[in-house]
């Protein structure tokens, strides 16, 4: 029995399209059909682009017919988190305040994907302005975990993670500010890469916290992750914080074995999670360490002494930047306006009605942290602690080649389970936030499943602009284990996990 098309890798699909063995239109149609079937129950999309996707795919086929050489993602469907701008296409960031907004320009990553001949199939659901870790903060809909529809897909890029897990698209992009790509990747059993800060241009990514935001890909294999990361990375003159150091990743390099490789393990950070760390995660973590030892890697104990301060640091820096970034939603030039009295009343009514609770909470927190008299004690101090956290990572990565640590304390939780207590929700970010503050790259990769069948992921952290090494380490695990190649029942018509 041949593999259903939607379970094939992006790499295989692109190769087939380039060779003319498959048409981009057929590939696109297959994924659109899959999404027609599964997206309504999963709630993965806020806006689908089926018509334009098919048109784009047909255009790609015509170009191939004319003898043009196609790009690395030829005919491969890609879904985008709804905080990435596509000209003329609704971009809401999951917020009522941007309902109906259509950006008049394309994000840098959109230009790059199109240049690689990818096909953009839609805008995925997310937590409002990427604030949240369950996608329950979307103003529009709930997204469900393809492995268990009662569970959250994680967040904030829950739609992008779930759509790849459910094989509605082989690839997608999300954004990661404090773990918003890596955590949902783990919950959904897919790869999620947070590139080095500066590796991918933020031009066209609606800002949450500017010094932390990075666009990152979701995929179902290490090689596919490398393929799309290579397509979107690199310097962009419109984002002065982007860097030319980010270079395409060699797929061949991912196949090198781990002999002599030094894997850093910061065990102390596990203790920070304490009781909150699920035994299944701990077991997966220890299991992965053993697997790497068997594969020839040297395990190195490293310390991240300031990582315990990461959550407190993050929840000052990110809301502070967000409070400023979200000031532009004022009802003057785009999006929602709540007509109400004079200018000031209009501002307050518009923003009061347009933002959800979590966003308001973070705007209030950030406004407070920056306000006169508190700046030094909160924001400035947090930035200094950030310096210490970054140094911890650079020190640890000087004696090791990558770090291995958990990404989530538990597998996916139930919808509605954790939305009441914001602080409890924030504490779940203990493993993802430190690398965000340090600006170093981090990869969430699927390693196993818990007893209930929910995926478990772990995290690799690498040196700045060395995404390749992390992917090579993940690829080594992937070769020996089948976690990455399994698909949830919903993805396979007729049910049953497929290989």
């Amino acid at each position: 029995m041949s593999t259903p098309l939607v379970l094939e890798s992006a790499e295989a699909l692109a190769t087939a399209v380039k060779k003319g063995e498959r048409s981009a239109a057929d590939v696109t149609r297959a994924f659109l059909a899959q999404a027609d079937r599964t997206a309504p129950s999963l709630g993965t999309y806020l806006h689908r682009l089926s018509d334009s996707a098919l048109r784009d795919a047909e255009a790609i086929d015509r170009r191939r017919a004319k003898g043009e050489t196609l790009g690395a993602l030829a005919g491969v469907p890609v879904a985008l988190k709804d905080n990435i701008c596509v000209r003329g296409v609704p971009t809401t960031c999951g917020s009522k305040i941007l309902e109906g907004y259509r950006p008049p320009y394309d994000a840098h990553v959109v230009e790059r994907l199109r240049a690689a001949d990818a096909v953009i199939v839609g805008k995925t659901n997310c937590d409002e302005f990427a604030m949240g870790s369950s996608t329950e903060n979307s103003a529009f809909q709930v997204t469900r975990n393809p492995w268990n529809l009662d569970c959250v897909p994680g967040g904030s890029s829950g739609g992008s993670a779930a759509t790849v897990a459910a094989c509605e698209a082989p690839l997608s992009l999300g954004s990661d500010t404090g773990g918003s790509v890596r955590q949902p990747a783990a919950f959904c059993g897919v790869y999620g890469l947070k590139p080095t800060y500066g590796a991918v241009s933020r031009y066209g990514l609606v800002a949450f916290a500017s010094s932390l935001d990075q666009i990152g890909p979701f995929a179902r294999s290490a090689r596919d992750t490398a393929l799309i990361q290579s397509a979107i990375c690199g310097r962009d003159a419109r984002d002065t914080t982007s860097r030319g150091d980010a270079r395409p990743i060699s797929l061949d390099a991912l196949e090198r074995d781990l002999t002599g490789f030094r894997l850093g393990v910061p065990r102390s950070i596990l203790e920070e999670a304490g009781e909150g760390l699920a035994p299944s995660i701990r077991a997966a973590f220890e299991g992965a360490i053993s697997a790497y030892e068997r594969a020839g890697a040297k395990i190195v104990d490293v310390a991240l002494p300031h990582a315990r301060y990461a959550i407190a640091t993050y929840y000052l820096i990110a809301p502070a930047e967000a409070s400023s970034n979200l000031a532009r939603y004022d009802g003057v030039r785009y999006g929602l306006r709540h007509p109400d009295g004079d200018l000031r009343e209009m501002y307050e009514a518009t923003r009061g009605a347009g933002f959800g609770r979590e966003v308001k909470r973070r705007i209030l927190l950030g406004t407070y942290a920056l306000s006169s008299g508190y700046y030094d004690a909160y924001y400035l101090r947090a930035q200094k602690v950030r310096t210490l956290i970054r140094k911890d990572f650079l020190d640890a990565l000087a004696v090791s080649d990558s770090l291995l640590l958990p990404i989530t304390p538990t597998p996916a939780f139930k919808i509605g389970e954790k939305t009441e207590d914001p602080l409890a929700m924030y504490l779940n970010d203990i493993f993802s936030i430190p690398a965000s503050l340090a600006g170093v790259p981090a990869l969430s990769f699927p390693v196993s499943f818990d007893a209930s069948g929910l995926p478990i992921g772990l995290q690799l952290v690498g040196r700045p602009f060395d995404e390749e090494t992390m992917l090579r380490v993940a690829r080594a695990y992937e070769r020996e284990h089948d976690a990455a190649s399994r698909a949830p029942a919903i993805a396979v018509a007729g049910g049953g996990g497929a290989r």
Binding site: Y315, G352, L423
Partner: protein, 95 residues
């Protein structure tokens, strides 16, 4: 760090956010909880530590040449405005 509703009102005004009176207590409690949690940073000695505003460092300052490049977004931008008056964005009177 105890936060009372007066503080919530003051910050909300600064952030131009309408908070319903019935919600003020809850925001005060939640913000108080988060600010209590971040108090742990006060225990760290950060003297002599440079703050990190962003992590892109060592890059040459990326400056732009002073060359005009017209944009074609004007009509789309004006069409997307909640209210416009001809070629202007229109807002309620200031004050």
């Amino acid at each position: 760090m105890p936060i009372d509703v007066t503080v919530v009102r003051k910050i909300a005004a600064l952030a131009r956010l309408r908070i319903e009176p019935s919600e003020e207590e809850r925001y005060a409690r939640e913000l108080g909880g988060i600010l209590g949690f971040v108090e742990q940073l006060q225990a760290l000695d950060v003297s002599g530590i440079e703050p990190t505003s962003q992590v892109t460092e060592g890059a040459r300052p990326a400056l732009r040449a002073d060359v005009v490049c017209p944009s074609d977004v004007r009509d789309e931008a004006l069409q997307g405005a909640p209210e416009r008056d001809g070629d202007y964005f229109k807002v309620p009177q200031v004050v």
